[in-house]
């Protein structure tokens, strides 16, 4: 089941979605067992930006039917901290190739990120997250095909490593965006990232319905049944500290399948498919529509080793 991908030989076609697995933290929680059973054929870092970011204020998570909205806000140590601290913390034990995911808000920023990564041999490939508002236009760099191609053409020369472009799904024509990435020099595209979504602070009445009678007595006093819990915490009425967030998990699986199929139909470069993969069947669907690799995100939160199980089942055929 080993797979050739952009010049790398991977043990199987299952990797992680950026930002959904922290190999360093997992190594801390699970110890050496993680090395022996590392669930992914390559490890994708969370998104690294030029400057360190602390991320969004809590709450950062909201659970929905068959899915999760996150509003993490891309916390990371910044390029320098990543190179100085995370790379050494991974080296020596990470049993698979490292793909570093980076994001910048202008060609100049991206260029700097690519050049810095290019210089480090620990990094096997670079994934560029283009779900980032352009500092100049305000529009996500990846949402508009022309803008995307222009930015990529400008930075492509800054690295010899394989360059994967992680497309945004919040766009009118993802096939056109995939084509733009290819024309701009990408070696592969990956999709889908999360769908823009939002949740409000639950109303007390709502909580009561969900939690049964017990809660009634517990929620703070107040006569207006429409008043929202914790309105003091977040007066905007929005639950997520970041205001809006991104939807992932089972709820987006069929949207992902449609977008991956559209991307595959639009490009010759390999496609990494992801979005709501929970088991071998979901991964196989993405491979069947033409994805070369499959990434697992949210499902790893429920089961850290699910990626490995999917890989084994893809190899063996379903039980």
């Amino acid at each position: 089941m080993s797979v050739e991908f952009c010049g790398m030989t991977l043990a199987h076609p299952v990797i992680n979605g950026s930002g959904t697995f922290d190999a360093i933290a997992a190594r801390g929680a699970f110890g050496e067992a993680l090395e022996r059973e590392f669930p992914f054929a390559a490890f994708v870092s969370k998104t690294i930006t030029l400057q360190a970011r602390v991320g969004n204020p809590p709450p950062r998570l909201w659970e929905v039917p068959a899915g999760l909205i996150n509003s993490i806000g891309l916390p990371n140590r910044g390029l320098e901290g990543y190179l100085a601290e995370d790379l050494p913390a991974l080296s020596g034990w990470l049993p698979v190739p490292l793909i570093t995911n980076v994001m910048g808000s202008s060609a100049a920023e991206i260029s700097q990120l690519l050049r810095a990564c290019d210089a480090r041999e620990e990094i096997a490939a670079i994934e560029l997250n283009v779900s980032c508002p352009n500092v100049h236009t305000g529009l996500d760099i990846g949402a508009d095909p022309r803008q995307l191609e222009a930015v990529l053409s400008e930075v492509r020369g800054d690295t010899h490593k394989p360059l994967i472009v992680k497309l945004t799904p919040n766009t009118a024509d993802v096939g056109a965006c995939a084509r733009a990435a290819q024309e701009g020099g990408a070696d592969a595209v990956s999709l889908i990232n999360t769908l823009r979504a939002m949740a409000l602070v639950p109303r007390r009445a709502e909580l009561r319905r969900v939690a049964g009678h017990q809660l009634e007595e517990r929620v703070a006093e107040g006569s207006d049944s429409r008043e929202r819990q914790a309105a003091t915490v977040n007066p905007s009425g929005r639950w997520l500290g970041g205001g809006t967030g991104g939807l992932s998990g089972a709820a987006i699986r069929t949207v992902a399948l449609a977008q991956v199929a559209a991307a595959v139909a639009s490009v010759e470069i390999p496609v990494i498919g992801m979005g709501g993969v929970q088991c071998e069947a979901h991964a196989q669907d993405l491979l069947d529509v033409g994805a070369k690799l499959v990434a697992v995100g949210t499902e790893s939160f429920r089961d850290p080793l699910v990626g490995g199980r999917i890989a084994r089942e893809l190899t063996a055929g379903p039980a």
Binding site: G19, A26, A29, P58, R60, P75, V210, G212, R218, A230
Partner: protein, 275 residues
């Protein structure tokens, strides 16, 4: 200051365990799960739990993710959890019967450290937040240390939960049992009486904040077991954060749940036990 945090490593395997008992304890449930071969959790560590069947359904299509629960006790190859039904996940777990399956990942996070400098241990708990204090009391008793236990509850039905620990001094909001008022009022009196103590606290955010402020004012070391909405429990999602003194965010699941009170400027309103 307390010594290095204690932490047992979890297996990365989500394990299918069996419920051995699930009994009411006043307003709470005590769920017992057979786990003879699992790693021994340190006091303050937690596990991510999900029912093996019927998780992911429910009227609202939730729960979808596993839920975090402090290990309240380990005895005879069983882990005990103290549960309060506050939503679809806890409701599903409260409804489990002996023989039912539970998917468990753990033990996770950093636990409490044991007292240093012969300080006496003051355990301060509120509501369902008393859970990690029970296993801490067990550990202290094993090392021969005495502990003073101060617990606060809403009312008499909830105060029944205090049976999880021994020798607790109680406070209730409605005055039906013990001191009529806040558990932190008991704590203030105790610190007044003998300040050479280390405080271990777990409970609702306002209680934790009051504990933090009290201890900060007296320069009494304190360890707070925080809570936060969690998607993963092992540092993967960065969802479970609380703001630290230095402006950065700590992940409760890997940097905590037990956090030295000194690292916090204040206890975030989302960082406590359900109320």
């Amino acid at each position: 200051m307390p010594a290095a945090c204690t932490r047992a490593l979890a297996s990365p395997h989500r394990r299918l365990l069996k419920v051995t008992a699930n009994e009411r304890l006043g307003a709470y449930s005590v769920l017992r799960v057979g786990d003879p071969d699992g790693p021994l959790p340190a006091p303050g560590q937690f596990a991510m739990l999900a029912a093996a069947e019927g998780w992911g359904g429910g009227e609202e299509g939730r729960p979808y993710l596993a839920r975090a629960f402090s290990v309240a006790r380990v005895r005879d190859g069983e882990a005990h959890y103290l549960l309060e039904d506050v939503g679809p996940g806890t409701r599903g777990l409260c409804a489990l019967a002996p023989g039912d399956g539970v998917l468990a990942l753990g033990p996770l996070g950093r636990g409490f450290s044991l007292p240093q400098e012969e300080r006496r241990a003051l355990l301060v708990g509120g509501g369902v937040g008393i859970a990690p204090l029970a296993i801490l009391q067990d550990a202290l008793t094993q090392t021969g240390s005495a502990s003073t236990v101060l617990l606060g509850f809403r009312d008499a039905a909830h105060a029944v939960g205090a049976r999880l620990l021994s020798g607790a001094i109680l406070a209730t909001d409605d005055g039906s049992v013990g001191h009529a008022g806040l558990v932190t009022e008991l704590l203030a009196a105790e610190l007044e009486r003998d300040g050479h103590a280390v405080v271990y606290a777990c409970g609702p955010a306002p209680m934790l904040e009051a504990v933090r402020a009290l201890c900060a004012a007296r320069v009494t070391p304190a360890e707070l077991a925080l809570e936060a909405g969690m998607a993963c429990g092992f540092g993967a999602c960065y969802g479970c954060v609380v703001p630290a003194r230095d402006g950065r965010y700590l992940r409760v699941c890997v940097d905590g749940p037990v956090i030295d009170a000194g690292e916090l400027d204040h206890v975030d309103a989302h960082a406590g036990a359900p109320t």
